[in-house]
């Protein structure tokens, strides 16, 4: 008995060490950004690197706000990311429901077509999209960026949501239809609450896509006041010099909101929502 308990304790300890190790690997880049941003340029290239953030250098965060438009960039990124998330989910739910519940001719082709869109690299689409957006007066607008990001996320999200809707027992929908729910009502009142964890997960995917996207943000938008943080950050990389601590400070500010968004949403990403509904 004692041996079993001891073995269990060792196992727990080992597991904890592995988890801490993985956490370290994941979190270290963020920590290193903090350290680098608060290290003076002179010390950055010294032979003995600083391992702790330099408290004397905190002003770098204030400085980047005064010397650059980082506030605007972050705001633009947030608008694009939130817009992409909302629009992607809104556009993907009904097709996902249709793919899951309706049997119609060509359903396999529709499913395949969604995948095909994912095979084309973004860079290849820049030129034709530039021409199309020019015609539609969408160049130099955040709306344009939201639309183009949404076009990339909707197929993926549709497939993920289809899988989740497949998992909702059809009996529940039939019960709702007998209780007086319309088809659309069933989707909104019954199906969507039941796939909330998957919706949260897909929201994370859409948000990160919108937040991180660079190629279209760089090419379809040229006005400096509409730059997103990814473009703004890249602008620091100069031909002659790159102010590393400013880049890292902005990088940190660029990373943290995304981390917070994930933490906000992740508590909804829990399984077992349909437990207790139907037997088995």
């Amino acid at each position: 008995m004692k041996t079993t308990t001891t073995t269990l304790a060792w196992r727990q300890a080992l597991l904890m060490i592995v988890i801490l190790g993985m956490l370290g690997v994941t979190a270290f880049p963020i920590y290193w950004m903090l350290v680098t941003s608060t290290t003076s340029s002179a010390d950055l290239f010294s032979t003995s690197p600083h391992l702790l953030p330099g408290l004397a250098q905190w002003h770098v965060f204030r400085d980047v706000f005064t010397s650059t438009d980082v506030g605007t960039w972050l705001l633009n990124s947030a608008i694009v990311a939130v817009g992409t998330t909302v629009l992607s989910l809104a556009l993907a739910v009904l097709p996902a429901y249709a793919l899951s519940r309706f049997k119609f001719a060509g359903i396999a082709i529709v499913g395949l077509a969604l995948f095909v869109t994912q095979m084309l690299p973004e860079a290849m689409l820049v030129v034709p999209l530039y021409a199309i957006f020019g015609q539609l007066s969408l160049l130099n607008t955040l709306t344009g960026l939201i639309l183009v990001n949404t076009a990339f996320t909707v197929p993926v999200i549709t497939w993920i949501l289809k899988g989740a809707i497949d998992g909702v027992p059809i009996d529940i929908e039939e019960a709702a239809s007998i209780d007086g729910c319309s088809r659309l009502g069933t989707v909104f009142i019954v199906v969507i609450p039941l796939i909330a964890p998957t919706l949260a997960a897909t929201a994370v995917i859409a948000f990160f896509h919108g937040w991180n996207e660079y190629v279209f943000a760089q090419t379809l938008v040229s006005a400096p006041e509409l730059h997103t943080a990814s473009v703004g950050l890249a602008g620091f990389v100069g031909e002659l010099s790159t102010p590393l601590h400013s880049v890292m400070a902005i990088g940190l500010m660029y990373t943290l909101p995304a981390v917070f968004f994930y933490l906000l949403v992740q508590r909804y990403v829990v399984a077992g929502m349909t437990a207790g509904s139907v037997k088995g």
Binding site: I172, S177, D179, A196, S277
Partner: protein, 407 residues
């Protein structure tokens, strides 16, 4: 409360006919049970009544109203699912209130905050609250109104499903094997609860089951189905005592009715080497001497004796099962032939029930005598019931005859 009328209802999936020409009239207030083995089409028929399956042919009427073209929500029928189908994200109270909210639902209820407020307003209105609380009280759910389905036991979930059906006060209750997921003890108590519910609410019930005990104890009338056709429609007593064909005879009753091959020999019945005078009620109109028939006799209408001089079918005891109040004795017949084989192909065995603890043992030579006053006859060719009133059929054999509901 309304009557239901199914007029020549059929269901086909592609070229396959799963339900053929079902014709049933269910008077208002009746507890109709659709009974049959798996895959006989009973659940499909119930789902067609509810509007969850389309009707391929025929008509369904609820009272004077034709409903088979209406969506499920417009039929005023409540449905209790085998799987309960509760809304997992809603509390017990919301689950039960849901049909009442849907009754007053407007499109703008989909607007996030506004819709939420409107729904809560309906939920807390005195008449809705009173109705829901009363339903909960009947089903002993009052203590768990704020819990979610996942925290309830199977029996409690089934009661919530019943509550959700009751609260609508519908014309018709449809139930699809609602007790099949419960353990034996709970099943018998829920059975009693549903019978009481039917008595108190007085609605028209249509209940699907494969369990003959449920059918016999709950139903005021039974439709026994097999291979997509109604084999017999009648009260539990009629179906038990006057089975319309050999399928019904073997399906109802445990152990199943014995079917022994016999020949009509003048005024006598020849079973193996045994000759018995044919009782008046078994007199077969139109049966010539030599006609092959099946004698259907329930295990409790047979008697076993060990005296070789006793008239009866000679045989050997193959198995004795003691089931408490009675013993079930399986006898392998020497010369008489049965119409049913065991799953392993061994035939010519009949079952006899004896009161109390039988002293017989496997291998004993016995005589089985039958009480023909409790027997029924079937055509050996078609399997249909024959008697003075029902002549031996002359048309081609038909495995699944249609029966009228008029009695």
């Amino acid at each position: 409360m309304s009557s239901i009328s199914l007029k020549n209802v059929t269901k086909t999936f592609g070229a396959k006919t799963v339900l053929g020409n079902i014709h049933v009239d269910v008077p208002a207030g009746e507890f109709l049970v659709l009974l049959g083995p798996s895959g006989c089409g009973k659940s499909t028929l119930l789902r067609m009544l509810a509007g969850l399956e389309t009707v391929s042919g025929g008509e369904i009427h609820l009272g004077q109203r034709r409903v088979d073209t209406l969506p499920p929500s417009a039929r005023d029928m409540a449905f209790v699912f085998q799987s309960y189908a509760l809304y997992p994200h809603m509390t017990v109270r919301r689950n039960i209130t849901f049909p009442l909210i849907m009754r007053k639902f407007r499109w703008w209820f989909h607007i996030p905050v506004l819709g939420h407020l409107a729904k809560r307003r309906i939920e807390s209105s005195p008449e809705v609250r009173e109705l829901v609380d009363r339903t909960a009280k009947i089903l002993s759910l009052t203590e768990m109104m704020d819990r979610h389905p996942r925290t309830l036991s199977g029996g409690q979930r089934q009661r919530v499903a019943l509550g959700r059906a009751m609260v609508r006060q519908p014309e018709v209750f449809l139930m699809d094997e609602p007790l099949s997921n419960l353990d034996a003890k709970l099943r018998s108590s829920m059975r009693a609860e549903i019978i009481k519910l039917h008595r108190d609410l007085g609605g028209t019930f249509v209940y699907v089951t494969h369990d003959q005990i449920e059918a016999m104890t709950m139903g005021t009338r039974i439709v026994l189905m097999h291979a997509g056709e109604a084999q017999q429609i009648g009260t539990p007593r009629e179906i038990y005592t006057n089975p319309a064909n050999t399928f019904v005879a073997r399906f109802i009753g445990t152990p199943a009715m014995n079917l022994v091959h016999a020949r009509i020999d003048g005024g006598r019945l020849a079973i193996g080497e045994l000759r018995m005078p044919l009782p008046a009620h078994l007199g077969v109109r139109g049966a010539s001497s030599g006609a092959e028939v099946l004698v259907g006799v329930r295990p409790n209408a047979l008697a076993i004796g060990t005296d070789p001089a006793q008239p009866g079918m000679a045989g050997t005891v193959a198995l004795v099962e003691h089931v408490g109040a009675e013993s079930i004795v399986t006898v392998r017949l020497d010369t008489a032939r049965t119409a049913h084989d065991r799953d392993d192909g061994v035939g010519d065995e009949i079952m006899v029930t004896q009161a109390g603890y039988s002293t017989l043992q496997a291998g004993d030579e016995v005589r089985v005598s039958l009480d023909l006053t409790q027997a029924v006859l079937f055509s050996a060719e078609s399997g249909r019931r024959i008697s003075n009133d029902i002549p031996l059929p002359t048309e081609a054999p038909h495995a699944a005859p249609g029966f009228s509901t008029q009695h």
